[in-house]
Symmetry: C2
Subunit: 504 residues, 2 copies
């Protein structure tokens, strides 16, 4: 065994990661199927199938052989001899391996069961507005997260360890700075808009048959460059995109008869995620680098396409005619009224329904609360009160109950602490990328207004998509913008856009 | 290891078969997905995923540990101590294990590659009417089949070994007898019908929009008792049914605008397969017995529902009004004309388009040819000539070319020798089952004419469906009819039905 050459070990390592990738892809199809129409009565057995494949995948990823191969390949001399792709692949695998190995299997097993129970309890507690029943489960989930942090280790701030799982390299220090700057602009801007008379957006609730919504969704996906030969569009309750491999990246959307905006922007949002995954370099297929590099960078692409392109005036100058053609109910609504309506700003209680501007405030509230929980500055029992106080402070409104407050999101019940910041990071990355893209493509606005997305997609592919996980999030933003993450691009963009719309 | 008790070994064996069943179910979802709309560009990578899971499944099924467990559990004392379910499960596994182990892995690997190539070559050769190019591939496939027969061993006739894979216990001796009896009735009956003036069935080609065909397919599946909470209906090029588990049994159908009959009877046919799989006892879930017991018995259920119920006069007395309501293009067609049209008999060249009567002759031709090939009484080179001669003899017509002749079916290219008889066995089983059911349910015709399928489904479930693979095919027919397979039920049924329709 000791006699194996680096080449042999590398080959074995690549074979092993490819096998893992195959299990991931099979699981991806099973999850997609469950969410797009797998019959209810088969789900119990299907859950066992998923259990069998997941267990096998976990065994492969934490196997002794994987440990030996990674140890050998990360020895300095061996590591130096590897190609850039293989160095990055091994580094990622080593990080995952170490993280997985630091949690005792029995402990992890108990945690998985708890998280699954907690999610079920949350599902019932939410409509019943019953935080008290959910509380002991959430307390245990938080307790496990804290234990994981101790086992994984941490630097300056305990919460950094959780952030790193979704946005490698992100820290509380960096986030406090960027969120602080963002908040300073947003809170007064939102307040100024709230003081203006509300827009008349009643026409947005006109009934639009599902078939028309589906037709426009399909049309607009094709327009922005989504490849239907490498994907498909289906309806689901909660829209999502899933990259099974670059040749099979599926999106879903939600059709609500009296809320056409919902499918419209869900479709473009998921389409943005999908453009990223469809355009990862074929050279990365079968490796652990064949996907988006982080949740934040991924979200930058959904937000860039949904908000910065999809809610822009040039975009609707080009597509409003098509929209009216496919959706006759809007025949008498002027383009400018529609443009303003899809950009309406209104402080609201529910994150998923928030506008482009206030969305970031919803995220900051969750970020602050998670940070305090993980640093023992806040107890789960005091969470509802803290939540409500922050909504009052950041958005000027207060939830009348916990269903519309602390119980609204699924994330915490499943242990997804550290995930929320990705959404706002996405907005910040996107604004900074847009600035760089405008500099590189001087005809950007004219291109959008003409429905010419090829140069835009080509630029994003070259700078971001093709690299998959070959670049870290921080390398991606430096590759795009020549600088680290800077929140001023987002504030500048939002101020300019909304001061114009609301004539401030 | 030697100290393990029977209970421990049984538990380990059941755990192992359950794991295999999970892999099969995952593969089932992947195949279903590939055939119902997986994007083209992702298929290459998906094929590798399927390869990884199939290899893993094959390894599990032929593992040394599986061999040890089966050896221990089939020792007489141990075997006797097992429950009926576990005895049957172990017996089935042992049979599969022995069959798999008898073929050297390298040989099997080469064969899999050849069969895949042969299928690709066939796909091109068929539309080009080019038997010459396909011939060397088919020769090799036949040669492998003969080698497998030698390795697996055989009794009276070499072909028995192939038959047994699809219809356990079936032999050339039995088939020659039942097919002989069937042929004696069918050939003159078909000739007598051919001598009568043709029916006017032009209205069957009226255009029916896909949406109406889909609506009626869904309606009729619900009526016959297909449970949509345990299944779904999708469109495909080649209709099929797949039982992933009893709570997830999916059917597909094919919509052709100017051939409504196609979706109509494909849907009921696949619905029959699905009723079988949906009603296997929950006690069998996770075991190797949780599926239909053989291809022939499975086909009996698709044929029973499609032909003996779905093409019967009482059925259309009940449903023709619904059909006309959903499909207005048939508003002026009298029920009786429609009934005769869906039962039109016409000797034709293509098996998949054949009517209920001539279908069996298409099968017998293939059976005779396969039998001769495997017993060295016919060479692949002489196959087209032999094919054409038999069509002349059995059906009175001759294919003008090989596309409409020997090249029409996919089966042989993929090595599916021994499969064809299942279709006619299904017809014979079905007629015999119908006879028993009519005796047990004296109101059978009235029930069908009233759309009361509950008693019919309940009887079939009790006698057939619930047992899954717990009973052998021969046990099933004895459980249903108290006798072995008897072809006279089919000939009696066909004679009565078609003499009435054609006034012979």
């Amino acid at each position: 065994m000791r006699m194996a050459t680096i080449e042999q070990r590398l080959a074995e390592y690549l074979e092993l990661t490819k096998k893992m990738k195959s299990y991931e892809e099979a699981l991806g199809v099973l999850y997609w199927d469950m969410r797009t129409g797998a019959p209810r009565k088969g789900l119990e057995t299907r859950a066992e199938v998923i259990g069998v494949l997941s267990t096998e995948l976990f065994k492969l990823s934490t196997s002794d052989r994987m440990g030996e191969l990674l140890a050998a390949l990360t020895e300095p001399a061996a590591f130096e001899s590897l190609s850039r792709l293989h160095r990055r692949s091994v580094t990622e695998s080593k990080k995952d391996y170490d993280r997985s190995k630091k949690i005792p299997p029995e402990m992890y097993q108990k945690y998985v069961v708890l998280a699954s129970q907690a999610e079920s309890v949350w599902e019932e507690a939410k409509p019943n507005n019953d935080f008290a029943t959910f509380r002991p489960y959430l307390e245990q989930v938080v307790d496990y997260q804290k234990q994981f942090i101790e086992l994984w280790g941490y630097g300056e701030n305990k919460y950094d360890t959780l952030l790193d799982a979704y946005e490698p390299g992100m820290t509380v220090t960096k986030l406090d700075a960027v969120f602080g700057a963002l908040r300073e602009t947003l809170v007064p801007l939102v307040a100024a808009i709230a003081a203006k008379p509300a827009l008349d957006t009643a026409f947005m609730n006109r009934k639009v048959p599902t078939e028309q919504q589906r037709a426009f969704s399909e049309f607009i996906l094709k327009e922005i460059g989504y490849d239907f030969a490498a994907g498909r569009l289906d309806p689901t309750t909660h829209p999502f995109a899933t990259g099974l491999n670059p040749g099979d990246v599926r999106v879903t959307t939600r059709y609500i008869e009296d809320d056409v905006k919902n499918s419209l922007f869900s479709t473009i949002h998921e389409g943005g995620h999908a453009l990223y995954e469809q355009n990862v370099s074929p050279a990365l297929i079968g490796t652990n680098l064949c996907t988006g590099t982080s949740m934040g960078i991924h979200e930058s692409q959904s937000r860039l396409w949904e908000n910065m392109i999809g809610r822009s005036r040039p975009f609707w100058e080009r597509y409003y005619g098509d929209f009216q053609r496919i959706v006759p109910a809007f025949a008498d609504v002027p383009m400018e009224d529609f443009y303003r309506a899809v950009n309406e700003v209104k402080p609201s209680l529910i994150r998923t329904e928030a506008d482009e501007l206030t969305y970031n405030l919803h995220i900051m509230i969750r970020y602050e609360l998670e940070k305090r929980l993980m640093n023992d500055e806040l107890q789960v029992a005091d969470l509802p009160e803290a939540w409500n106080a922050m909504y009052k402070e950041y958005l000027g409104i207060e939830p009348p109950n916990d269903e519309l407050g602390v119980l609204q999101d699924v994330h915490w019940s499943g242990g997804g602490f550290g995930y929320f910041p990705s959404y706002s990071l996405g907005n910040m990355y996107a604004a900074q990328m847009m600035d760089a893209m405008r500099a590189a493509l001087p005809t950007f606005d004219a291109d959008v207004a003409a429905g010419r997305f090829d140069p835009i997609k080509a630029w994003l592919t070259e700078k971001i998509y093709t690299h998959g996980k070959l670049l870290t999030p921080s390398e991606v933003i430096r590759n795009v913008a020549g600088a680290e993450l800077d929140p001023t691009y987002l504030t500048t963009y939002l101020e300019a856009k909304y001061k114009e719309i609301y004539a401030l």
